[in-house]
């Protein structure tokens, strides 16, 4: 037993491959937050008056709120006045440009990250919105999408060009006062993605946003709003990375999804923010609020996430199942290594009749990390015939990490059915011995076993992402067996 643990502990030495910094001239606000800063931000973005009012309302509410302390994570107190709330690469106009006009340094950055914007445009058939620090730098495939009636643009553009849609839905799923980080985001969000899929349209391609934090001492506060109108379908992917820095950086995003009657939204995330070094220095604080409202009957919202990065993760992609027969799904792989801490899970709020939800969570802990699943399944009085299935599996690698499960169930309806299964296992010495006896390297063996453990979640990812996710796990575990 001792031998495998030792090997595994050695396997946990890895290099973060997206840790480079792009040298580009930026306009960056001096650190600090007050109403003037928000007004300046809103001004730069040429926002209408109502938007500024909305932000200020959120800010005033935020000032009265307390930072949550219930999560199973520990981190030094954040000084919100030491963060810069806006940083953008210098350019002529504050508009996402066509690819030809984008600074070549930026294009190179995305190429290095494996997101060659030009090629993606030509080959992969995936539309990308690339967000660099506080702004969207490019959005591809806008025209063919527009032909299908799909709006895919940065949220800044949407505020200017589609104010009626934004006003109707922004903040309806995650209101100002929802929680501390959502409040902060509402006040200072700088950019993000907006998607609207009209009635009866099946979005002709995968949509994706790639988030990159570059500048030091800045926070990234993106806001994403996706609306699927009646009978429509959209699949959306997001990916994220950041440079290696000794200081922690804050990422406090809000994602709101709205599905009307018979609409479906599939939202997939591969999160690979810089996790900090082997000693736990640096890394991103990922405090994110993601929630989908299945308002319409027969609507469906599906979250799939693969979380391998960030120093501290606090994230619970959730579904509010209001419409009759609406469906919520949450498929998650969360891997923590070294000193990473994750407190992640989901909330399934059943309000409508015959609503159903599925939760499959796979937590993998290695190194000295801590990995917690926290989930709430709630049935309101009107949730007649509603049901949930939850499966929570934890896999431990080595003997210095921790896995925790905090499931909460609240039911106000007697007809609701809930099933919960939970397992905790280790990569066993016997499994390792079998693989090695067949000539397989210990590292490859761990990676194969971990990938097998995650299979149920990976199969939910779009093909291209599934491959990426598998590779990412491999890199994340690199060096954990000697």
């Amino acid at each position: 037993m001792a031998t495998t643990d030792q090997e595994v502990n050695e396997l946990i030495k890895r290099e973060y491959e997206h840790g480079f910094v792009t040298n580009i001239e930026s306009d960056t606000f001096e650190p600090g937050l007050n109403e003037d800063v928000i007004a300046r931000l809103s001004g730069i973005k040429k926002e209408p008056e109502w938007m500024l009012e909305w932000r200020l309302k959120a800010y005033r509410r935020w000032l009265e709120m307390d930072e949550p302390d219930w999560a199973h994570v520990g981190y030094p107190k954040i000084d919100y006045n030491s963060i810069s709330y806006y940083s953008a690469p210098k350019r002529k106009e504050d508009m996402p440009q066509s690819l030809d006009e984008v600074d070549p340094e930026l294009l190179k950055t995305y190429e290095k990250l494996g997101i060659p914007l030009h090629e993606r445009e030509k080959l992969a058939g995936v539309a990308v919105d690339a967000v660099f620090d506080s702004v969207s730098v490019a959005t591809t495939f806008k025209e063919p999408l527009a032909k299908a009636g799909v709006i895919f643009c940065s949220i800044s553009e949407a505020i200017r060009d589609y104010p009626e849609l934004v006003q109707k839905y922004l903040g309806t799923v995650v209101p100002h006062g929802d929680n501390f980080f959502a409040g902060l985001n509402s006040a200072v969000f700088s950019d993000g993605t907006f998607v609207y899929v009209p009635k009866g349209v099946r979005c002709p391609m995968e949509l994706s946003t790639y988030f990159r934090i570059n500048a030091a001492n800045t926070g990234q506060f993106e806001r994403t709003l996706i609306i699927a109108d009646e009978g429509s379908y959209v699949s959306y992917l997001e990916g994220c990375t950041a440079p290696m820095r000794d200081e922690n950086q804050l990422h406090a995003a809000v994602v709101e999804l709205v599905a009307l009657d018979d609409a479906q939204i599939k939202y997939s995330t591969v999160q690979n923010w810089y996790p900090g070094d082997e000693e736990g220095k640096g890394g991103i604080f990922n405090f994110v609020t993601k929630r989908g409202a299945a308002i319409g009957k027969n609507s469906k919202i599906s979250w799939t996430q693969v979380e391998t990065g960030s120093a501290v993760t606090w994230k619970y992609p959730s579904c509010v199942l209001r419409g009759e027969n609406s469906v919520g799904e949450f498929y998650s792989v969360a891997l923590t290594n070294n000193f990473q801490q994750a407190d992640t899970g989901t909330k399934m709020i059943h309000l409508g009749k015959n609503t159903s939800s599925t939760i499959i969570s796979k937590g993998i802990s290695a190194g000295k990390s801590s990995n917690a699943y926290r989930g709430l399944v709630k049935f309101g009085p009107g949730a007649e015939g509603a049901r949930n299935f939850t499966q929570c599996d934890s896999l431990l690698i080595g003997d210095r990490c921790g896995a925790h499960t905090f499931p909460y169930i609240e039911s106000k309806n007697k007809s609701a059915i809930v099933e919960h299964e939970a397992t905790t296992s280790k990569v066993s010495d016997e499994q390792m011995f079998l693989c090695r006896q067949r000539g397989i390297d210990p590292e490859q063996a761990v990676s194969m076993i971990v990938n097998g453990f995650c299979k149920e979640v990976f199969k939910e990812l779009p093909m291209e992402f599934a491959v990426e996710a598998g590779k990412l796990l491999e890199v994340s575990l690199e060096g954990s067996v000697g």
Binding site: Q431, C435, Q444, I449, F453
Partner: protein, 257 residues
Amino acid sequence: MLSIKNLHASVEGKEILKGINLEIKAGEVHAIMGPNGSGKSTLSQVLAGNEAFEVTEGEITLNGENLLELETEERAREGIFLAFQYPVEIPGVSNLQFLRTAVNAMRQHKGQDEMNAAEFMKLAKEISKQVDLDPSFLKRGVNEGFSGGEKKRNEILQALLLQPKLAILDETDSGLDIDALKVVSDGVNALRAEDRAILMVTHYQRLLNHIVPDYVHVLAGGKIIKSGGRELALELEERGYGWLGIKDEEPADSTAN
């Protein structure tokens, strides 16, 4: 091919093997028999390099190379194969993926090109027929939900795929009904070759009716106390281990795992 000299090994400080000497030449089939607790399984595990066992004295060489200096996976690549008594499950990892990874690890070691998925699929299907496993087993998780007999056949399938120099079969007959025993034995007999040695570890002689050994050794108290030909096994069957003055305790083999 394999030479074991004065091998002592212990687990958790308790000495199990107390001076084993054994020479096996290419082309030979050896059977190691013995009552439960005699150290049979320990010997298999030590040869394969299970790090739960500590070798305290003696040497093991394979074709002149010191095995004790090699890691488990390096021994495997040099041609040591162990068919497990209790094959472990690896949920979610398909048998096909596992087998292909293993075969390619060996090929890479020999400087051969990796086999692509299609080539490998064809080969794996052929061999699974040979051990009477439906090809659908290739798509299932490694040993996941397999019956005892299916697990054993899956082990022989792996031996046939990997073509080792020395195949060690640890109680491969245990838990098999007579039909399954026949299938597994046919598989093992197909492995017999001029340049390959087979070491069978078994409690019962019935396996040796199907796979006829060249030599039989009796292991007791961590030492080989008697060696002979095929007839030794028959005599043991007739007269019991008591004949050699050994107590045959029925409880499960305490040295396994």
